[in-house]
Point group: C2
Chain length 160, copies 2
């Protein structure tokens, strides 16, 4: 009997955070769910962080993933943007630690390499591979949710 | 009868977060407490964020501040540092929002202006003014805790 591996991939952001969930079966990934949390620009910073945390807790309760995969964010060049994404990322890591879920961290290049077999694959190639690997009839939208699915698939391969 | 105003000032950081608490009496500030949370470099990111949250919750329980003052972090130039400080800041804002505490945000220049009467005062001048205003026998240490006291004093003047 094999133990089920259900991976939640997260693409963290302050404005939008993507969630993507897949089940691993051998080396294949089966689509379970994807969504994107959009926080409201009129809300305070703190309220927006609460939204991200609440929606993440909701996803954890509804889909009960066994592992969580999160991208490491090396690529931010703007300090102001990095600070904001960092705030969302901090809240996400805290919530996952509270839920005692194992976290798989990966670089953007590892995601591209894992999905498209090529560390410099572009966003569109990654999205096409996600659609193909998960046998979806159309491209998962929005981009943040598609990226989260890519992160989940690569996370699943890493814990195999 | 005047309602008591007890201000918690926070100087957020990933490695070290300073807490400083003052009571406001008219336009004067009375020292209550200061401390610095140092997170352990050997811990995971998530565990360090939990430490910051747990210690903040502890301070809220022990000292029951009525307001919280946090510095806005415009000054980070390095994206990697900004991301890490952002993670701690996100966790702090989330914890304060959960505790339903009013948050006073201020710029670094407002802190210097409020304490030393001069937006370009240096770190040492601010520390000397904190010691003098709070009638302390020695300079509060470490620097993060002293900065947090400065933030608390200016926050107290802003909610008067």
């Amino acid at each position: 009997m094999s133990i089920k591996k259900r991976i939640l991939g997260i693409d963290p952001g302050f404005d939008r955070t993507g969630f993507g969930i897949v089940d691993m079966k051998g080396s294949g990934a089966i689509w379970v769910h994807h969504e994107c949390v959009q926080t409201h620009p009129a809300d305070t910073f703190s309220a927006r962080l609460q939204t991200v945390r609440d929606r993440l807790q909701n996803v954890l309760t509804l889909y009960t993933p066994t592992h969580v995969a999160v991208e490491q964010l090396f690529f931010q060049t703007n300090a102001k943007t990095a600070m904001k994404v960092g705030m969302a990322r901090g809240v996400i890591l805290l919530t996952l630690a509270d839920a005692k879920l194992p976290i798989i961290e990966m670089t953007p290049n590892q995601v591209k390499q894992g999905i498209a077999g090529w560390g410099r694959a572009d966003k569109k190639q990654v999205q096409q591979m996600v659609q193909m690997l998960l046998k979806l009839k159309s491209k998962p939208t929005p981009d943040d949710a598609s990226d989260a699915l890519a992160i989940a698939i690569v996370g699943g391969l890493m814990v195999r």
